[in-house]
Assembly symmetry: C2
Homo-oligomer: 344 residues x 2
């Protein structure tokens, strides 16, 4: 054991040809003439020796690492409680595997963002990167635009020229809110998924407001609250809404994960869903359909989003970036279950 590494030189020597020939054959380079017999002998020898090309050497020579980065920009705690991450990773892995590409997960701490993006790009450890949940005050984003590494955002941000893949958060939130209005609700609260600097949060609140405005329902700012991704923040938000004295018969919670906590607060207040309060979520995480009652929510195609982002990024890496429509908006779907009922 611990036997010496098998290199292409070993394969070449075994067959009695040059290393170049081995490389040409195994990479199946077009427009070059190698006799079929030699070709076969090389392939056989490579198999027999168990030759696997060294990824780093390939990367250095070809200037392609065959890896892309998934860059997370949230705190450790937020990553740990993110009910969404598995779907992103699953989607990414699926598409990446098809193209024989690896996924590097990286984490940029808030404080050192600027240098961190930069180093990642310059170190050339990856061929491109996918940014998740962009934030408005992320100064380093502008820097990224001028760095030469292909980048795709999951989630959009106004003012940035980076290509992105997203859903129409505003429209989706509008859809959810309109559903509640259609059931007769007029006093509706809103708990957004995250602090306002995360772009999806204000977008969803905007959709909420749009739906109200369209029906001439006055918007009460103190029925709007910003959570912070996790169940706990949802619990706190709902609790303060309930204690505020404002009356409401329905709540739009812009994240199922947050809704987990919000539900607990409603229950603690001895109220029932949907009899006392109608609740609608956002994301459709696996928990939603098994909740009690099953949660009506907006289905966000997380895996498809990740797959599209990955595909788009790979396109860019291969140089097809001339396409002008370098962004993609996927559809959401209202999943009606049993957590909302007509106002009595």
């Amino acid at each position: 054991m611990q036997r010496k590494r098998v290199t292409s030189k070993d394969v070449a020597e075994m067959v009695g040809v040059s290393r170049t020939t081995v490389s040409l054959v195994l990479n199946d380079v077009k427009g070059i003439q190698i006799s079929p017999e030699t070709r076969q002998k090389v392939i056989d020898a490579a198999n027999e020796l168990g030759y696997v090309p060294d990824a780093t050497a390939q990367a250095l020579a070809s200037r392609r690492t065959k890896a892309i980065g998934l860059v997370l920009t949230r705190s450790q705690h937020h990553i740990a409680t993110d009910a969404f991450l598995p779907k992103i990773i699953s989607g990414l892995l699926t598409t990446a595997k098809k193209h024989n590409i690896r996924i590097l997960v990286d984490w940029v701490e808030t404080e050192h963002q600027e240098s961190a993006y930069f180093e990642l790009a310059r170190a050339k450890r990856i061929d491109g990167m996918i940014l998740s949940t962009p934030r408005l005050n992320d100064k380093a984003l502008k820097a990224l635009e001028s760095v030469d590494i292909p980048t795709v955002m999951m989630g959009s941000i106004t003012g940035s020229k980076l290509p992105f893949v997203d859903v129409d958060n505003t429209k989706a939130a509008e859809k959810a809110t309109s559903y509640l209005i259609g059931l007769g609700h007029r006093n509706i609260a809103c708990i957004s998924n995250a602090p306002p600097e995360y772009t999806a949060a204000p977008a969803r609140v905007a959709g909420f407001k749009n739906a109200l405005s369209r029906m001439d329902i006055p918007i009460k700012e103190n029925l709007i609250c910003y959570a912070d991704f996790d169940p706990e923040s949802g619990y706190e938000c709902m609790k303060s809404l309930l204690q505020s004295g404002e009356r409401f018969t329905a709540v739009f919670v812009a994240s199922d994960n947050v809704a987990i906590g919000a539900k607990a607060a409603i229950r603690e207040a001895n109220m029932h869903i949907p009899d006392d309060i109608s609740l609608i979520g956002f994301d459709d995480i696996p928990w939603a359909r098994y909740s009690d009652p099953p949660l009506t929510t907006i289905r966000l195609p997380a895996e498809a989003l990740a797959q599209s982002a990955c595909t788009l990024l790979l396109d860019m890496i291969q140089g097809n970036e001339t396409r002008q429509d370098n962004h993609l908006t996927l559809e959401t779907e209202l999943i009606i279950r049993k957590s909302c009922k007509p106002v009595s």
Copy 2:
């Protein structure tokens, strides 16, 4: 823009020294004499030029990629619904970042396992790997023992000599079951977290049985059921248990994620927790404490597990693998909430 890459040669030329000197200074190599002035000049020049060493070239030369792999061996669907993955990743990232190491997530499809592990190891893209949720029938594991890449398992497997980090699943399950017995329950069902080939599943069932045996409670095999990681499988298991005609007043579900579905089945049967059935879970995912009623469960230190695995792996990579105790067992904790009550 798109300006030429800055290499150590550029830094060297700017200062007027050799590339070697630049390398020695920036890597802070011990036992070598470089004058303080030169040292400072090199550092200044590197900063001014924005020099970032090329990761692939470093990897090739030093034979360290400064990356470790997290290898997932489950199906795409199981990865997507894994409520546990975020904590693993969070834990890994935390420890990895401290050592300036990157995380590569890889996915080995069941069919091609043997070659896949092998290629990963041989391609030397990573310095070591962490295997999650090992399976008994994973033939490739034995192969891995003889390959020269450091490997740590999260979860244990009898007969394997690979170092691992795990909790004592049997003891933890015993603790959970004993708690139910202590409340007076005698007819207790068990839904395991996964199919029996995943080692944690039989271990937890064994703990369940141990607890019963110790109190001379007969074990009814048809009160034991194996789920498949996700809520849906928990729903199905619970449904079939309820329809089996067997009587039981409590259930030990060896995974909170599975318990999500099990709860739904109980509710559909018009039964209530904890009045009709006591329910105890395993893992303590974020949802558990906000569940209705809050779920009593066994807390599994997921992030600590990941951190320990990472630390152990890094130790091995650095060559401190002589230590005989190359495995670690972390403690679990019974978290008592409100989903269990004494039998009436």
